[in-house]
């Protein structure tokens, strides 16, 4: 049953997924406690994004269970939408709605999903836009903003739903180097507030600074998970060492 004080935020048990013949997730288990911040890294094609996208069921799977905030995700569309309300997601390509202003992007879901009065939704949106430090862009369209600003809007948009869990899918990979920092700073602040976060990222500095655990994936499996300090200084697995040597240089 669902309780508000459930200490487990996300529980993934024996998760397997195939894209056609390709076995992309192989029997993955992961338990994330409330308030934990997990960074998932690994080579491309290792299934890390897919794993993240299973948590709000943007991807479906063939075997295994995913329980989010005490609710098990099944084919039940009502349940899926209920989980999605509690889980915010930020994408590599921002996925802002180009035909709506920044403010409208942020208020759309609170108004229509949370049934919030427009005025209240706008107040909340402005609050979060201030927190991601772009309150002055509220009436612009996404195409008028820089990549870093757009990604911060995307974070604000997800936060406006007051989610319990936030998923970040390679959110800095599409950004110019100059803009990576402003987005990461926003995420660090969020982490300080105690948000439960699952972050797919290669920003190892961020992982060191923020994560409780770093999870390394390869070939659809979690092959190493450890606290950041231990993970970076004493990687156990040969594959992890190779990966770290390539990205840390």
């Amino acid at each position: 049953m669902r309780t508000t004080r459930n200490p487990v935020a996300v529980e993934i048990v024996g998760l397997s997924k195939w894209f056609g013949e390709f076995h992309v997730l192989r029997d993955v288990d992961l338990k994330v406690m409330r308030g934990e911040r997990i960074v998932i890294c690994g080579p491309s094609g290792s299934g890390k994004s897919t794993l993240l996208r299973c948590i709000n069921r943007i991807e479906s799977w063939q075997r295994g269970r995913v329980v989010v905030d005490g609710m098990e995700l099944t084919d039940d569309l009502k349940k899926i939408d209920e989980v999605r309300r509690e889980v915010g997601m930020v994408f590599q390509q921002f996925n802002l709605f180009p035909h709506l202003t920044v403010l409208e992007n942020c208020t759309l879901a609170p108004i229509w999903v949370r049934k919030m009065p427009r005025k209240e939704a706008e107040e909340i949106a402005r609050h979060y836009l201030k927190r991601v430090r772009i309150p002055e862009q509220a009436d612009k369209y996404p195409a008028q903003l820089s990549g870093g600003q757009q990604q911060r809007v995307a974070i604000a948009r997800a936060l406006c739903m007051r989610p319990k869990i936030m998923l970040f899918d390679e959110v800095t990979s599409a950004l110019d180097p100059e803009m990576v920092k402003e987005v990461l700073d926003t995420m660090v602040e969020l982490a300080k507030d105690g948000m439960t976060m699952l972050v797919v990222s290669h920003e190892m500095g961020f992982a060191r600074q923020v994560a409780n655990r770093v999870v390394f994936m390869d070939a659809g499996q979690i092959i190493e998970a450890n606290e950041p300090e231990a993970f970076f200084s004493h990687p156990q697995h040969e594959r992890t060492r190779l990966f770290l040597s390539q990205i840390l240089r």
């Binding site: 943007i58 999605r84 309300r85 915010g88 390509q93 996925n95 802002l96 709605f97 999903v113 739903m161």
Partner: protein, 381 residues
């Protein structure tokens, strides 16, 4: 790293921004630059001017200069009477104007048609001007209330209004009724069909594909013919549907199939990320479609939608073959009047009908262009 052997200029001070160079010097300079820039360009300009004049002059001559403006019968439009070359015979149009507008709608009841037009314009114009508020209410009135009000006004039989059978309707009235119904009916139906065709539910998808392919596969003439002459044979004995209504239903279903494919093209242009962004926020299917996907998809295909509208507007002339006399039908009927038989009657009539069709189609086209520009938020500006 070795220093590059190539010399390289490094600025010591940052350059200040400068205004852009001016393109030309006044109107004369502009003309010279654009139209008479070199021998070939000048030659092309002159040839174009000659061609334009060769087309424009006879048109103006026929429509205005040589035209007959006043008269009461064919005699006034004959070269023997006027003693010069005769262009358009406008009195013919004036004499038949009511017929062109209303068909055989009873003359003392024609105010009802005018009232319907007025009501339609009153609701349509504010709907088209972006600055006027209450768009939601306005749209409900125009797309929901107006068709019902218009139906009772035109058909009558209630509130003491005399019943007017659709058999006697004609002219521009029929043209507008068919195109309005076709346009207002086909867009929502087309959207639903397009969504259905992309649905994950196999039965819904199959049904939509069958529907779309069936209606696209048969010519409109066949549809009209079937609706008018064959359908009554299949219906139970005393079940009769009004002739015009049958045609209206046929036109809407026919146009919806085309509209569905236009809309589907727009849906395919929406990147997957938009769906994922909407799904991640917990917007359900209908809200995702209504607020995120369709507004963008429809914006992409405005040219295609308007194309369909214009085609539909002109295709309404085909109802002539099932004995419904729209504007073109009334025109043809008027040609048969011996009282107006002159060498120029045919040209005058078609020139008039052409202008009416052109005005409406061109109006739709320009408004669509305006809308496209207004909705363009994709580029910083």
């Amino acid at each position: 790293m070795a220093v590059d052997a190539q010399p390289c200029y490094v600025r010591r001070a940052l350059a200040e921004p400068e205004p852009p160079p001016t393109a030309s010097s006044g109107a004369f300079g502009l003309i010279q630059q654009r139209l008479f820039d070199g021998v070939l360009n000048s030659a092309l300009t002159i040839i174009s001017l000659v061609v334009i004049a060769a087309i424009a002059w006879p048109t103006v001559k026929f429509l205005l200069v040589d035209a007959v403006w006043q008269g009461s019968s064919r005699v006034d439009c004959l070269p023997e009477t006027v003693k010069r070359e005769v262009g358009a015979c406008w009195p013919f149009i004036a004499a038949k104007f009511r017929q062109f507008m209303y068909g055989f709608y009873p003359q003392d009841q024609q105010w009802r048609v005018n009232l319907t037009y007025a009501l339609g314009m009153l609701l349509l114009v504010p709907l088209l001007i972006p600055r006027i508020p209450y768009k939601g209410l306005n749209a409900i009135l125009f797309f929901g209330v107006f068709p019902v009000a218009g139906f009772f006004l035109l058909v009558g039989g209630v509130l003491g209004l005399e019943h007017v059978e659709t058999r006697v309707w004609g002219g521009l009235l029929v043209t507008l009724v068919i195109s309005f119904t076709g346009i207002v009916g086909s867009l929502p139906l087309g959207i639903l069909l397009a969504l259905g065709r992309r649905s994950d539910l196999p039965i819904v998808r199959t049904l939509c594909i069958v529907f779309i392919e069936f209606w696209r596969g048969v010519p409109l003439i066949t549809v009209l013919f079937f609706a008018t002459y064959m359908l009554p044979l299949f219906l139970p004995g005393n079940w009769r549907i009004d002739g015009l209504l049958r045609v209206l239903i046929g036109v809407v279903l026919f146009a919806a199939a085309y509209m569905a494919e236009v809309v589907r093209g727009g849906l395919q242009a929406i990147p997957r990320g938009q769906y994922e962004g909407a799904m991640a926020l917990g917007l359900g299917y209908w809200r995702m479609m209504g607020f995120v996907i369709l507004p963008q998809a429809l914006k992409f295909v405005i040219p295609g939608i308007v194309n369909s509208f214009i085609a539909l507007f002109k295709d309404t002339t085909l109802v002539l073959i099932v004995a419904i006399f729209d504007l073109l039908g009334q025109l043809r009927a008027a040609f048969a009047d011996p009282n107006w038989a002159t060498p120029v009657t045919l040209f005058t009539g078609f020139a008039f009908a052409g202008m009416v069709y052109f005005l409406v189609s061109f109006g739709m086209s320009r408004y669509a262009l305006f809308t496209e520009r207004r909705l363009n938020t994709g580029r910083p500006n």
